[in-house]
């Protein structure tokens, strides 16, 4: 009776595994995450990059977590308009010790909201022809899509087959498969037809309204992570962020790690270095350089185990003289390579330091002295600007 049964679930799973296996190295194309428009990697090296493996390595994950930042008040626990009501803000009078403990607990809770979206290569869009029956060609004007709605089939291993008008029976393309999942297993906010905001005129509107986080959250809920559409969409969003230098829109969200990785794997650090320099975060700048050097290890450019953050940055700027123009905020164009970053750090930190209650005035002074010493040591110049800042500060202190 059963001349040709459908794939059993086991077979389907096996086929899925085979489909998702990485292709052999000789045939593999460059990673989809390498974008020739912004990439500074030489093509030979870009060919060998295995983005998935690099992204999941513990060292990279740790650096990315560090770089993501955790802005509790303005980003992670900010008030949002969501369907499930948020807890109301709660005010309490507490001792310093309890305050610290509470902040620690909130930091831990925040890590839950900052888990990275898995970074995947786009899946293979091939189908398998199961039967070709020319005798029933033209039996209908439209094709038939058959979906198995068995209770125990999951969204991934559900059998979906298509009978074409020419009489051949084939497995569904992943796009059709996902669409059938959306048709028969509806979820709230996952409409069958792709929302218009994921394609261009409306995408740009959303980005103009600074709704990057909302857009990316919805995209990763709507698409599978290895969907080519998801990958191209996130690349588009990242590219536009880089073009407008609007890193703040995704900073300290779960998407920032992927954005940092995207820039690091394309060896295009200057925009992000400038961003962190403007925030006055020297250690973040250094971590970024560490990340980039761990993705593309090179013994000639390796970081010494005792190198300070400052030294790492200094070396990076020296090694990448081609970025001199772009690294405006990190290094100014004259011979003082690291002057810019110090300027960034001091100019952003100084006003905040003055009014920061947690840092004593002595701490501020120490910090500035250190910065000054670094500068004079590194540049062999007595920079008037830094001296002026220091003088102002000491005046203020007295």
């Amino acid at each position: 009776m059963l001349r040709h049964g459908l794939f059993s679930r086991l077979h389907r799973l096996q086929a899925l595994c085979q489909l998702h296996q990485p292709q052999s190295s000789s045939l593999r194309l460059a990673s989809a995450w390498i974008n020739p428009l912004i990439s500074h990697v030489d093509p030979g090296r870009a060919q060998e990059v295995n983005a998935e493996k690099l992204f999941t390595s513990p060292e990279v994950q740790e650096l990315l977590t560090k770089l993501t930042g955790a802005d509790l008040q303005n980003k992670i626990f900010r008030s949002r308009r969501i369907s499930t009501p948020q807890n109301r803000s709660h005010y309490a009078l507490m001792t310093d010790e309890r305050w610290e403990k509470t902040m620690e607990r909130m930091q831990e809770e925040a890590q839950h909201f900052l888990q990275f979206i898995p970074l995947k290569e786009p899946r293979v869009e091939t189908t398998e022809t199961l039967i070709v029956d020319k005798e029933i060609a033209g039996f209908d004007k439209s094709k038939f899509v058959f979906t198995d709605i068995s209770f125990d089939a999951t969204d991934q291993d559900r059998t979906v087959v298509v009978r074409e008008v020419d009489g051949s029976l084939r497995t569904a393309t992943p796009e059709e498969h996902d669409r059938m999942n959306r048709v028969y297993y509806e979820k709230s906010n996952r409409p069958v037809v792709e929302p218009a905001v994921f394609s261009d005129p409306y995408l740009q509107d959303a980005l103009d309204r600074n709704e990057h986080e909302f857009l990316m959250d919805w995209a990763c809920m709507y698409f599978e992570v290895d969907d080519p559409k998801f990958i191209s969409l996130s690349k588009t969003v990242y590219d536009r962020i880089i073009a407008t230098k609007n890193f703040d829109s995704l900073y300290s969200t779960r998407h920032f790690g992927t954005l940092v990785f995207y820039l690091a794997i394309n060896n295009n650090l200057p925009p992000l270095l400038n961003f962190f320099a403007n925030l006055g975060q020297l250690s973040e700048c250094a971590s970024l350089v560490r990340l980039q050097k761990s993705l593309y290890p090179d013994w000639r450019l390796a970081i010494g185990s005792y190198d300070s953050d400052f030294k790492i940055l200094q070396d990076y700027v020296k090694q990448n003289t081609r970025f001199k123009q772009e690294l405006g905020d990190v290094a100014s164009t004259d011979q003082s390579d690291v002057y810019g970053i110090l300027k960034g750090v001091i100019s952003t930190k100084l006003p905040t330091l003055r009014f920061n209650v947690t840092m004593t005035l002595d701490d501020c002074f120490c910090f500035l002295c250190q910065a000054y010493l670094h500068a004079s040591w590194a540049l062999n110049v007595n920079d008037g600007h830094i001296l002026d800042e220091l003088r102002n500060f000491t005046l203020f202190r007295n």
Partner: protein
């Protein structure tokens, strides 16, 4: 004396298309009905819904069919259900059963139709 029987267990059930939908919008559920001896099929007598069939093509020019394959196999294999011809055609197209003879006939009729249309249209041009 009148005896109460369970229609789900009695006799030979049948699988067929049940027309749902509304005016100008047909939609079929693939349903299991009790034995013919228990009377005509009606909406309240449906034992189990094992799939659906949307006969109007969508904007991708697809007709969507959903089949609960495990349950259909159970009703056909273990309960020896009688399957109606339209459902047999769908099951044939899905690759679960051999293609139904009526599909071959339909295919030949349609191709003949289109060929005669072409022949009729050619002299006009």
């Amino acid at each position: 004396m009148r005896q109460f029987i369970d229609p789900r267990l009695f006799g030979r059930p049948s699988i067929g298309l049940a027309l749902f939908g509304c005016k100008n919008r047909p939609f079929y559920q693939i349903c299991v009905f009790p034995d013919k001896a228990l009377g005509r099929r009606y909406e309240g007598s449906i034992i189990e819904q094992v799939g659906s069939f949307d006969p109007l093509p969508n904007n991708h020019n697809e007709k969507l069919v959903a089949l609960n394959i495990g349950r259909i196999k159970h009703w056909i294999g273990e309960r020896k259900a009688h399957v109606s011809v339209p459902v047999l055609e769908l099951l044939g197209l899905s690759g679960l059963l051999p293609i139904h003879p009526k599909t071959y006939i339909r295919a030949r009729e349609r191709t003949l139709e289109s060929q005669t249309k072409e022949v009729q249209e050619q002299p006009k041009d």
